[in-house]
Symmetry: D2
């Protein structure tokens, strides 16, 4: 099981999220309490926004805890919008092109979970990717495929609809191939202004997803925590698993739900998958 | 332009081919005289046969000249059949899954050249790969795609026919997409008993391909070269570019030709591409 | 805490030791039950003997469980004498030159443990290395330093005496710098004929060390285990922690002891550190 | 021969120096016209200053032309003071701890050249490093040793004196060991405010060193070059070899000279090595 973090708020040094907490994301990459796989040592990636035309992406095949460059970078890069992902590979190679987050234009995308029976469905799913996007696929990760399907289905215009249709297609193709529960996981995607986070699984037993409570409230609860006074009132962390030891800081995203933060939005809604309206391609 | 070597003969230490010659393959990876790209520093791979059920494959993203493990391995592995490939990437990522040689069962496959206009044709070519083979594609190299097409077209039964049909499909799809010269390069493939080497390009100006002359003759020409007395009479090196300084050792494979060595075979024949008998898939 | 294995016996494929057991060394690199650090993901190394003039060494900075080349190599290399080491770094960089085993001529050396207060004693220890050996030191690992001290003290002639004097020097220098327990760990060294394994710590609470029982006895206890019938009667595995689920297979090396196996020898003796006979160098 | 660049001026994106010029530093890493070694593919490093307490350092063992992370980073990091170094290793391992620039506190240090006969002199030079600095040495590069010697000799207070004494020691120790020309190369060091660049060799045939002319003058010469209008009037590039095709932009630093730029300083002076005032340590 992978582990991820999405930050949205006033700019902070990346090192604050990666290394500072008593129980930081990088330390936690060695031991995951809630995850299916206990060690997240199969590469990592970060994506961050600044004034440039597209977000930066830094990916490595080393375990995050060993990567000296990640440590350096995180001490020198500040961002008001960033993604961090620590990978625990399930089958696919440990190579940069399989590391999250994935990027297209101004969009980033990451995932914790899997497409079940991937070898059986990969070809049909790849076929459904728009022909103009297909050549951008550089690796073999199921997440990259999900991203290009979502882009095909209009992620840049309506992320919730696009993710609903993407998972709908995964389920339709999977069921046709005899897979009981084709999709599992949590997804985060952002355009650098707003971040959407989804929790869903075909089985209804989805991997965990949490978000931080209201910052002014947290400041009253934990007045000794400097970081809470550094960030803006509207700052939010969305994480695959709670980080640190602030028990009262975390709210769980319910099953089959999604949240939006950023640009004044801050809400949680039910998430419903959309089955393909036309026949699923057969790949024949 | 990549650089490759295929050896067939009595078992020799890999280091003899990689490091020993005055002008060795690894030294030459720094400066290629005949190649289009002068430095082959974008990873490398070796594949070798022993008594095991399938050949070993060692691939690295480091330049061969830096790889201490390659040096170690080559001093300890002997083989009567091996492939060596030094990569100069054109566009695709430097990752192990893009490094040659590629393997399927007992077969190895490598290539120096390219599929022109790859982004335009990749999807249609991927579609033509047999559904059972499709999930094995792990990288994004054009060569890996060529290999799985060849396997789809019966490489394991009739390599010459399979390669002819593979390049025929590449040309048909490429021409339909407006690409003047879709295929360029030399290909080597082996089952560990015989090795086939092809030289062909759509334009008729193919990258170079050479093979060593008859060993007993070479021994008379170069009696001071120990290596010639270590290998069997039927030993052959097939290379993308001549190695070392034995001017009389190398014969050029003519344009649009292929050669077979091993298991008593040792011949050179004309090579003719086979156009697809049915309509090319449209990917729509 | 690192994890290591030393095999001595009739030649076997390395994969038998690394991947085959129900609870193999590579799987165990993810979760160590007895170790101080639970994950051994900071690189690894193997060293093996064949007919060549010196052992081969393959080292990588990737976690062993990710390394495809280790998997390939281990399926194609057979040896009657090999070392495997999985590293959990304590402070020093994750780089090949810090990975065990270390090699000098025909000798290999590896270690699980540490020199306490290394920054305080490194310079004085480095000073004690023979001037002709000093330039061979390539990394910054305490183990490499121990190896070159042992070579300085005559490892190639009398390994037990050399290790005793090496640890004696470490303790003398450490105590002078105010370090309570300067040495901790288990050491294995071999010339490819015999293997010596040491268990010692200044505190008398040494990291664990085990060896397999008599093979004919194990065959009677576990007749269903094929591997026991593949190896010679005199085969021995020495390991930092028991591998697999054969509870009756492992004997613990007692505190302050060393064992020798190979070339007809097979014994366990008490180990006693030797204090430097002359004044410890002061580094001034 | 390595290749390096030091920038001092108003903040610019690193990508402007690394990738933008017609004939950029990264492209030139493939083919060096003036260098002794033609390919600089053995790792690289960058160091840059921002508002943080110490400069950032990013180092990699991949060839710079392959490193996707360097490309990303350079599109997102702006700095008014940065170092770039492309390595062509001579003997020592390709590992991050051998990559330039080296850092201590707020200081960076890099070098193109070598200490001749390093194996013979390394121990005596290491002995001369201050005991408090010794434990920071992490690799085996001659340049790292030069840096710690310079720090020992007061680099942070008087860089010119410290470098003069460092090279003086290298020459004294080298000569004692029978080395004719112990030092060769160019050195750059900076505290993030001023940059010092040295050109010197024992033989008096030093590797090349160039600096850009006065920016307002260059703007008149090359009005079509946007980059000249982006940087401040006092901007300077100091480089091991000219980059790009602006023939009129480069001035050569004379033999046995050093230059200082930054913080209002902008001058070129003769450089004279200082022999050790006391007897050279004998290492015995």
């Amino acid at each position: 099981m992978c582990r991820w973090l999405a930050y949205s708020g006033s700019p902070v040094l990346l090192s604050r999220a990666l290394y500072s907490p008593a129980n930081s994301l990088v330390d936690q990459s060695l031991h995951s309490k809630l995850g299916a796989e206990a060690t997240n040592g199969d590469g990592f990636g970060i994506g961050w926004y600044d004034d440039g035309p597209r977000p930066g992406v830094f990916r490595s095949i080393e375990p995050a805890w060993n990567d000296q460059n990640l440590r350096e970078l995180s001490e020198h890069v500040s961002s008001g919008h960033f993604f961090v992902h620590l990978r625990a590979a399930i089958g696919s190679a440990v190579q940069q092109t399989n590391c999250h987050p994935f990027r297209h234009g101004r969009w980033l995308f990451m995932h914790n979970g899997y497409v079940d029976g991937l070898p059986k469905v990969r070809r049909d799913l790849a076929l459904a990717v728009d022909e103009s996007l297909y050549p951008e696929i550089a690796g073999q990760a199921d997440t990259e495929l999900l991203f290009y399907l979502a882009l095909t289905f209009g992620l840049e215009d309506d992320p919730v609809d696009a993710i609903a249709r993407t998972i709908g297609l995964v389920e339709a193709v999977g069921h046709r191939k005899g897979i009981a529960y084709p999709f599992q996981g949590t997804i985060a995607t952002t355009d650098g202004v707003r971040t959407w986070a989804f929790r869903y699984s075909s089985e209804g037993k989805s991997r965990s997803l949490f978000y931080t409570g209201h910052i002014p409230t947290l400041r009253r609860l934990y007045p000794e925590r400097e970081i809470l006074f550094e960030v803006s009132d509207d700052a939010r962390l969305v994480v695959s698993e709670p980080i640190g030891d602030l028990a009262g800081a975390w709210n769980e995203v319910p099953e089959s739900s999604y949240g939006v933060v950023g640009n004044g939005e801050d809400r949680l809604s039910p998430f419903k998958v959309k089955a393909p309206s036309v026949a699923v391609p057969t790949g024949a």
